[in-house]
Subunit: 274 residues, 2 copies
């Protein structure tokens, strides 16, 4: 059965829109873009459009690619202090002479829409109230929407990146799943994935998860994005869907949820202000 | 075969002592004790003795159990600023009217002997240079000493506490192990532990890991401590040793290593000052 991220996103965005109107929320998102990057432009456009759709004011702060780090820091500090700004995103990547981790870590914890700051990671680690990274939150909402039980499930995550794999492992452990985190040095990967009740692939290697690596009835979540001949290909071979009880299409599964969770986080942050 | 933590500790302490003399290191450890706790007194005594043995000056700052949080914070700040102090330990537990996580997080990252501050956890998470929590470091040193390969190993950790389970999972992932973190909500625990090349038990439930839960030839690391009739009993039933290639005795395995790693961390911090 399809885990339809597109459909759920559309439903959620309608709900968010109503909620924002009903509560008369004034929410403003600041997106910082440094330099020129075609992929970033597409992502930023998507975020801005999505915000507009639900009645959130999104402003892009575009900085020259040769900017000094101190200028970027000054802008972040200004936005931190600006009470009209609900949340801040520093769009990655930024030019190499700027330290992304350092700069993004300066975003105030309660304005950290992406959930990547030190404070939020620490709270996630300690299972305290935190802002979840959008992709992580999107996956969890999608599973919950389809009543797929996380507690007690054996969940195998392939890929240990800082954006998905690592924070997802912590977030699922906090929800009482038993998590195995796999990566390029994992031996006998197919033996491990075959034990998964829920298998999440977040590597970016086209079709690396094949049908023989999947337990019958498993739930498959595909976060991987590879581009082959201009087409988006996920980490999970489509033939593997045959073995699954549920699966996310890719595209159309986790991706749409990620953008919706920016809105979800912004509303959560607005409600936290009260 | 025995993973002899006591023997390795003694060897390491001799090495540390030489190193401190050879480099003429002036190392000073501040241990903060709040209130009266019999178990804490024993732990603190062990730490002080161990420091004395290698030529480290350890001073215990004893505070009354009714102290204000602001007084504790003031002491931590003073010790942070004191250039003669190499490292600081806030001995847990502290009285309930004081917030342990908040106060211990105020210890400067480069004086954080226990490796529990926000900064150190964040660095561990990102696989950057960090101070490893002593038990975690002790387990890794013990495995390395006996040439047990961590990279690529399937490691199952039972117990997801903040002192051992969680940071150990991150540290072993950073060393390219494939880690599964189990806990009280894990289903079919025996099926998971049976796949472990290295099985770490850190729950504190006497003899919970039995021989039938262990793969033949596995490495067993027992961190659990339960007291039954005044005797220390580990999490791993001694009969399980028969199935193992290597095992830590308990007591005499991980425990002695933990104290030695306080010294290891202090030397690392002293060297980092240069």
């Amino acid at each position: 059965m399809l885990l339809d991220g597109k459909k759920l996103r559309d439903e959620l965005l309608l709900k968010y829109k109503e909620k924002i109107i009903d509560n008369n929320f004034k929410i403003k998102l600041a997106i910082i873009e440094v330099g020129e990057n075609d992929a970033s432009k597409i992502y930023i456009n998507n975020k801005v459009k999505c915000c507009m759709n639900v009645g959130i004011d999104a402003k892009v702060y575009h900085l020259d690619e040769n900017i000094l780090e101190s200028d970027l820091i000054n802008l972040i500090n200004e936005l931190n202090e600006d009470e009209t700004i609900t949340g801040i995103i520093l769009q990655s990547p930024i030019p190499k002479h700027l330290d992304f981790d350092k700069c993004s870590s300066l975003i105030k914890q309660n304005k950290d829409v992406d959930g990547f700051t030190k404070e939020n990671v620490y709270n996630l680690y300690l299972n305290r109230k935190n802002i979840l990274p959008c992709t992580v939150k999107g996956i969890i909402k999608l599973l919950e929407h389809y009543n797929i039980q996380i507690e007690g499930a054996n969940i195998v995550i392939v890929g240990r990146g800082n954006i998905v794999g690592k924070p997802l492992a912590l977030a699922l452990e906090n929800r009482n799943a038993t998590v195995t985190l796999c990566h390029s040095k994992t031996k006998n990967l197919e033996k491990i994935t075959k034990n998964a009740d829920i298998l999440v692939a977040a590597v970016g290697k086209a079709n690396m998860i094949t049908k023989d690596m999947v337990k019958a009835g498993a739930v498959l979540v595909d976060v991987g994005v590879s581009k082959i001949d201009g087409k988006i290909i996920g980490d999970i071979d489509k033939k593997a869907y045959e073995a699954a009880s549920y699966f996310t299409p890719n595209p159309g599964g986790v991706g749409p949820m990620t953008v919706a969770m920016i809105i979800d986080n912004l509303i959560e942050m607005k409600e936290g202000e009260k």
